[in-house]
Symmetry: C2
């Protein structure tokens, strides 16, 4: 039997007091698709909103096999033990419901962080659509900030659209890569490397050091040929090893330096404001489209209309007009 | 005084007979935002639709100064004179109304093509929003195909969102670059290089040959480190000179080889079908959003709501719910 539901002020008080139990239950609330839960969740969010925004939000992506879990475990442990920071780890993985390839499905992937009071790990919500998962994760991020976490990691897989979504909710976007640039590149979305604020070559250990150093040089040279980041910062390429600890402290210095430089040149705040406004307009667009595609008449006609469009029997504009119930 | 309006069958007959005058007037019709013109335009499009889809659609982008006009003039002339093809040149430039930096504003940029009966040049529609410009250009493209053009160029500037839009309406996407990878990269959108099906280094002439060859090598090496194209084809890097004609025939061979290979592996048709369906759903989304943001109550409240969101006083979700007139 689920625990009794709290009131909005009870949730807010518990979160602000740093209660992991209340934080976890509040995240469950924002993940719920029930209208009553949604309304309560918005009340909670509005109540804690003044206490949000103070963390450093770091997106971490990379294809399966790159070693994301051990990397996050190593970097997270460094932040907690050495830097004395409070860390939350969230995830965006719309595939987690469909089974197979789910990330953060269980906390045993990061045993040290899972057992550490200063770290809070939350698996990806399995709300189905990427839009739903993104909304829930964005709101969970705000709740974690209100609970006093200094750093939030948002983990995702480097395929599909989810890393663009995560890029839109963080201050710093980190791409993990393997040395050797082989099969793993097949799984990466085109354009993702140019979106990253830094590249980390993982597993730079156990005889892999030479290949990793060579890969770093290659990527450093390559990135010079590509358009610069809108932040005005260079995209560093780092070598890291979760085993030896190589590069972990150096990477965090990169993130901190980036945050300081972009706070000074105004880009940090500008990016956050743009993300907020994008989120507003995306929310509106998603709501309008959800209503439209939930309409019984649209649902009935859509498959035939899509088939006719794909077969070139009708122009997309005329098809849209027909579905919209208007004369073209 | 504008010429008398034709009927839909008159437009269709004129276009299919290859009349440049009727084609030009039909494009003016699809560019119109008047509801009566729009309805007539859809009738015309539906009538010619079976005669569309047979051209090779090539997107061409690059920052100002890269030499797009002279490149298009040189490649276009080669296609018409040497290959005996009929060419249409369209453009997507949402800034053309706002003045400054307009592309294809006058045909004197391509004097040979402008005077050539087998080539049809049309400046960018100045419909205002990118969505409006994109719709008009997509429809103009279909009309040009119905008029028997074998190749359609869609030109755009390599900044902002317009090149993503053009990428979504062509079979092959070409990025023009200068040797030297300097200031021009500042103007390029991140991710655009990974989206290109081929890179052309322009102005490989007049003592610039060595730098151009070096740039080609650098980009070839760099692109190997980036995710491969979904087409399964490599992204070639070519040297071209509109002055000497260097690389022009070679580039066209690349485009033809690409078209043949992707037709055989099914990607060509798959990409077109996906583009059609994207266009359908984008049209629906645009229509829904246009209606929403045109609403008097929304227009009145939007500025204050956006300001509150940007200032972090209200969550984007709550703000969206408020504007949508629903309880969150």
């Amino acid at each position: 039997m689920p625990p009794k539901r709290l009131s909005a002020p009870e949730y807010a008080t518990g979160i602000l007091a740093g209660s992991r139990t209340v934080l976890g239950r509040a995240i469950t609330l924002v993940e719920s698709t029930l209208p009553a839960d949604q309304a309560l969740a918005q009340e909670v969010l509005q109540a804690v909103l003044p206490q949000t925004g103070r963390s450093l939000r770091v997106g971490i992506t990379g294809v399966p096999g790159v070693g994301k879990s051990t990397f996050i475990e190593a970097l997270g442990r460094y932040l907690v033990e050495t830097k004395g920071l409070k860390l939350a780890v969230l995830a965006v993985d719309p595939s987690s419901q469909r089974g197979g390839g789910s990330i953060l499905g269980d906390k045993t992937r990061m045993p040290w962080l899972a057992a550490e009071p200063a770290a809070f790990i939350r698996p990806s919500p399995s709300a189905g659509s990427l839009g739903g998962v993104a909304r829930a994760t964005r709101e969970a991020l705000l709740l974690c900030e209100a609970a006093g976490h200094d750093v939030i990691f948002v983990e995702t897989v480097g395929v599909g659209q989810s890393e663009t979504t995560v890029h839109g909710m963080v201050d710093f976007f980190l791409l993990l890569m393997l040395a050797g640039a082989g099969d793993e590149l097949q799984g990466l979305k085109r354009g993702i490397m140019e979106m990253a604020d830094a590249l980390c070559i993982t597993k730079a250990d156990h005889g892999n050091e030479l290949a990793a150093r060579r890969a770093r040089l290659d990527y450093q040279n390559a990135l010079h040929l590509f358009p610069p980041a809108p932040s005005g910062q260079v995209q560093p390429v780092l070598l890291t090893s979760a085993v030896s600890g190589l590069g972990i402290a150096e990477l965090w210095t990169v993130v901190e330096t980036y945050a300081e430089a972009t706070r000074q040149n105004g880009y940090f705040e500008q990016r956050r404001q743009e993300q907020q406004l994008q989120w507003l307009h995306q929310s509106i667009a998603q709501a309008l489209e959800s209503r439209f595609y939930a309409d019984a008449a649209v649902r009935e006609r859509l498959p035939a209309v899509r088939a006719a469009v794909a077969a070139g029997q009708i122009t997309p504009m005329a098809a849209a007009a027909e579905l919209l119930g208007t004369k073209a």
